[in-house]
């Protein structure tokens, strides 16, 4: 549990640096966490759609060709990380409509 205690401690240190040294508003933290939750949620939607599309592709290729592709090929964490990235980019892109990215 030591690394997780370090993460908790560093989060606390970062909070105090942000508020005391950088002058960031504590009230903005809640909004930032909300944005993170939105990115994660969008990432989960991408993950479900991605896995359904991949499963359809695997089953389709099995039917249409002689080649066997295993559904176990979907058991890979990289597509999940990429889905999260898709969700993050999606959120930034949507936000850039309201406040263009610099």
């Amino acid at each position: 549990m030591t690394p997780y205690m370090a993460v908790a401690l560093m989060s606390l240190v970062a909070y105090f640096i942000a508020v005391k040294r950088l002058g960031w508003q504590p009230s903005d933290l809640g909004r930032a966490l909300g944005r993170v939750a939105e990115s994660l949620g969008a990432g989960m939607i991408f993950a479900v759609v991605n896995v359904l599309a991949a499963a359809g592709l695997v089953l389709g290729l099995r039917t249409l060709t002689d080649r066997f592709l295993s559904l176990y090929s979907l058991d890979d964490l990289v597509w999940f990380a990429l889905s999260m990235l898709q969700g993050w980019v999606w959120g930034l892109w949507r936000d850039s409509k309201a406040a263009p990215l610099r």
Partner: protein, 203 residues
Amino acid sequence: MPSSMIVRALGLATLALFFLAAFTPLAAFLYEMITVPVHIERADAIVVLAGGGVLPSGQLTDTSLRRTVRGIALYRDGLAPLLVLSSAAGRRSESAARSVLAGKFGVPDTAILASSAGDTTHEEVAALQPLLRARGVRRLILVTDGAHMRRAMGLVRNAGFEVLAAPVAEVEAPTQPEPRLRLLRAALREGLALVYYHIAGYL
């Protein structure tokens, strides 16, 4: 995209699941729900399902090795006169490597049936059915991973055999976050496979 409130709620639910899975026994509880308790008695055969084939070096994969050793141990305990070592189609080398290993542990060639057929568990069981019937097998001990057992048992039972479960433990009650997340992944993967097999009408 749905409204941002729904997306945010989904994100919060994902975060909650992550923390619960990593820092509580939730994953072990979910895994327990899809596994089958060990039930071993004398039978006509011990059937060891395919487990990922062999590595390019010719060695069995970890999964295949664990299952094979479990099958050999059951045979050595005198629980059945026949040891069936299965592998996927085109992977004769897996059943061959398993047979060699069984021989080294003192299982006689006459007690080993090596099968190499099918690409999925469903196809593998369908290919094993006539081979087992021809040997007069009615009751068998099935060896596969704990998470895979429920699905495999359903298929073997539907093929007309009485099945006893000899699962191979993958992970046992992990207490660290990463093994817990791996267990959750295994439970989710097998849960989805069970749903797929039900939809496909195999179970």
